[in-house]
């Protein structure tokens, strides 16, 4: 089974499936618990919810991480077994020499801060650059594939 997640969506599964998304400036956050074989992916758009209670939890870094962690725990996972992978945060329409901190980088920093708060290590980062990324997570094995339409310059 395949599940393509759109912006602001979260998908968590304890059965074999392939979760896919495409990110540019947004962040695809994958969390995997190899012991319980539960995994999930969020497509996060912005860093902070700032009290936006009507938004889906996947929209903001702070709410997405909390939602993923609590859902995975409710399905039998433990925080100490979780490993995270982050991809995205590209600045596709900006100069590649720019030192400006883009919204994509801000998103990643916010995700990492939340993960650090839970003690979840980020084992793989594919962040920044000027190209979008296709991210696929195999929930049977925890394997994650990150690819680009074009090779990075």
């Amino acid at each position: 089974m395949e599940k393509f997640i759109k912006m602001n969506e979260i998908c968590i599964s304890d059965s074999p499936c392939l979760i896919k998304t495409i990110v540019g400036s947004c962040i695809a956050l994958c969390i995997w618990d190899g012991r319980c074989r539960i995994g999930g992916m969020a497509h996060i758009m912005l860093p902070e919810s700032n009290g936006d209670l009507n938004a889906p939890p996947g929209k903001y870094a702070n709410t997405a991480v909390r939602h993923m962690v609590s859902t995975m725990i409710s399905e039998g996972s433990a925080v100490e077994n979780m490993l995270a992978t982050c991809a995205g945060g590209a600045s596709m329409f900006q100069s590649r020499q720019s030192n400006f901190v883009t919204v994509g980088i801000k998103n990643f920093r916010a995700v990492k801060k939340e993960l650090t708060g839970f003690g979840i290590p980020v084992v793989t980062e594919a962040i920044g650059g000027i190209s979008g990324r296709r991210v696929e997570m195999n929930c049977a094995s925890g394997g994650i594939t990150i690819s680009m339409l074009l090779k990075p310059a």
């Binding site: 947004c26 339409l149 074009l150």
Partner: protein, 212 residues
Amino acid sequence: MTVVNTAKSNVFSKSEHLRLEKSLKELLMESFNRAAEACTRLLMQDMIISRYRIEMITGEDFIDQLEDQMEEGYFASIIRLQNSVNTTILFLLTEEDGKGLYRILNGMKPDAGLPPLEDLTDSIGELNNILGNTFINCLANTLDQRINGSVPRNTLDLLGAILESVILQSELANKNIFYAEALISHKETAAFNVRLIILSDKNQLLKVLSRS
């Protein structure tokens, strides 16, 4: 504490709101027609608006509408209006159409080899520069205001990645936006589908329009 802006200039009655929206749609259609004319002159082929849509939606809904094309490769170029309403002009072409247009613009045969991708994207950006500035000039003349556009920023990437980056970098993610799109195609063969998309902060745009 909640702060409510009650300035009269920020509030439109329902009828005034409808009138402004109607004016805006007319203005955009006029601008799209000018862009199609510019496309015809540039390519020396008869290009027409084969489809258009104008809607008020959120940034997220805008992306959802194009969900089935997210994994396709597109040439994209954006121009942002400066010192004016938060507006982005997005120009999209499929990878295949982009290569075809490059050949036409450079007088090459259909099967001729192509230059490096960077040159291709710059060429596509130049087309956006012309179409985008046609749009900007039309807007500036109608509103009787000076409006400048940024230098085009160009890329070739997956449509999903392009669209979300445009919404985020334009800071339109959490706003109601005025979304207008015209598909400019060859009159007879329907080839070369040029997608010209205007994304604008709806409230800002209506305020500017109400002052003109």
